[in-house]
């Protein structure tokens, strides 16, 4: 059986200061597939993610989710995506467990939250305020959401930043499990990944032809 089409991007473009930021983006993503967005610093990877999560509006192009324009299935789309960006959204004054609790879908049990924290190696920090954690541990709290989410489409912008080898292995494992379950992932990273079989998409800064 052919894999279902989850995401289709047609000539998505974004303008800043009246100039295109990158060459129009087109790609398709099926269930069980991962797409690695590559590009130099400043190429517009984060902006592309902002367009995908509807934080920014493109100047042209189309975004289709399960064959439907996102503008027609806004609620379904936003309910079925997970985005983890550069900023971890972790509140320093809250404990790791409290942070994960508010970031997880409603009704996520405390057992599931404890298990997610255990899987990122933070079981002994569950009740420790996050201001006492290191930058890498902050990142792990944010990435523990991968264990509690029910979203099928993950957008991960530099998920391996600030992580040690063990952390990278864990996230790769999470991503592979998600793909095996039929989920889809769009991610950006400057690291070479071992476990994830992902297609690559090169994001090129827009150069005007004169």
């Amino acid at each position: 059986m052919a894999a279902a089409n989850i995401l289709k991007i047609k000539s998505l473009a974004f303008e800043r200061n009246d100039a295109l930021l990158f060459e129009p983006v087109s790609f398709e993503l099926n269930s069980g597939e991962a797409l690695h967005v590559e590009g130099a610093n400043g190429a517009g990877k984060t902006t592309l993610f902002q367009l995908l999560i509807k934080m920014l509006e493109p100047c042209s192009g189309e975004l289709l989710f399960r064959g439907q324009p996102v503008s027609e299935c806004h609620f379904e789309y936003l309910s079925d995506i997970l985005f983890i960006g550069h900023q971890s959204a972790v509140k320093a004054a809250l404990t790791a467990s409290e942070n994960l609790s508010w970031m997880s879908p409603q009704g996520t049990s405390s057992e599931k939250i404890a298990a997610a924290l255990q899987s990122v190696g933070l079981e002994h920090y569950a009740n420790v305020p996050c201001y006492r954690l290191s930058a890498g541990q902050h990142r792990r709290v944010a990435l523990a959401r991968l264990m509690t989410t029910s979203a099928s489409l993950w957008y991960l912008d530099e998920p391996f930043a600030a992580l040690d080898k063990q952390g990278v292995d864990f996230i790769e494992g999470c991503m592979q499990n998600h793909l095996n379950r039929g989920g889809s992932i769009v991610f950006s990273s400057h690291q070479d990944l071992v476990k994830i079989a992902a297609r690559s998409y090169r994001l090129n800064p827009f150069r005007e032809v004169v």
Binding site: I53, K54, M55, L56, E57, H74, F75, L78, S79, I81, F83, G85, H86, Q87, S88, A89, V90, K91, A92, A93, L94, E98, W102, M103, Q106, P129
Partner: protein, 226 residues
């Protein structure tokens, strides 16, 4: 759909209440300001009971407005910095519910303690006992309106922390609350019917609940996209 709406409201109410309790200095600062300046006024003006009770309605309300203004500017700026505003904006829930959850938490952390402390201020200002309940009612309703209007200013002045611009933006909108809030206490002090200005305050609250979240929503999206 109801579950989605209430989930958005409750998640942000619970989170911001926890944050309010943990960041005690943010909670205490406006309350200390409210108490300190209220304590200084009777010392600066001649401590005559009759004179103080005449000044009390306006003074209590001016201090309540300033204390709320002090606390409201960080309502969204911390969320913008740590990325949680982005998560809120991409929530599938109707955005006004998380916004209302945050503002309700702000009122519980700032407006409610101001209301509960106000009888102490009433004693310092020799406010007649009969005016205490109207004062508390006016502060309970009025500070909720102040939180809502202040949140509009906080959203519109992002990504900076409001400061002078925030004060300039919201002060004109705070005026009706100040006027009708002090009118409630003044009427009670003078032995007049105080329910009419209180009803106007309640009407202002209803209008603010209906309109402010829409303006905040637009302001936050503008700040994030800008």
């Amino acid at each position: 759909m109801y579950n989605y709406l209430s989930a958005g409201f409750m998640a942000y109410l619970r989170r911001d209440l926890l944050l309010g309790i943990r960041n005690k200095s943010d909670l205490v600062k406006p309350l200390i300001f409210f108490l300190l300046v209220s304590a200084l006024v009777p010392l600066a003006i001649a401590p005559e009971a009759e004179r103080l009770s005449q000044l009390a309605p306006g003074i209590i309300w001016i201090f309540a407005v300033l204390a709320t203004l002090l606390s409201v500017e960080r309502l969204f700026s911390d969320d913008l910095q740590d990325g949680s505003l982005e998560q809120m904006l991409m929530s599938p829930n109707l955005l006004i519910m998380p916004i209302l959850g945050k503002i309700t938490a702000h009122w519980v952390v700032i407006g409610l303690p101001l209301t509960l402390l106000s009888p102490v201020i009433g004693v310092w200002f020799s406010l007649p006992t009969i005016a205490v309940m109207p004062m508390m009612l006016s502060l309970a309703i009025g500070t909720a309106v102040l939180s809502l209007i202040g949140a509009v200013g906080a959203a519109l002045t992002l990504p900076r922390q409001g400061g002078v611009l925030l004060a300039l933006l919201v002060m004109p909108l705070y005026m009706p609350v100040l006027i009708f809030g002090s009118a409630v206490i003044q009427s009670a002090v003078d032995g007049l019917d105080w329910t009419a200005p209180l009803a106007i305050l309640a009407a202002l609250l209803a209008i603010a609940v209906a309109l402010c979240p829409l303006a905040i929503n637009a302001g936050l999206r503008l700040a994030k996209n800008g």
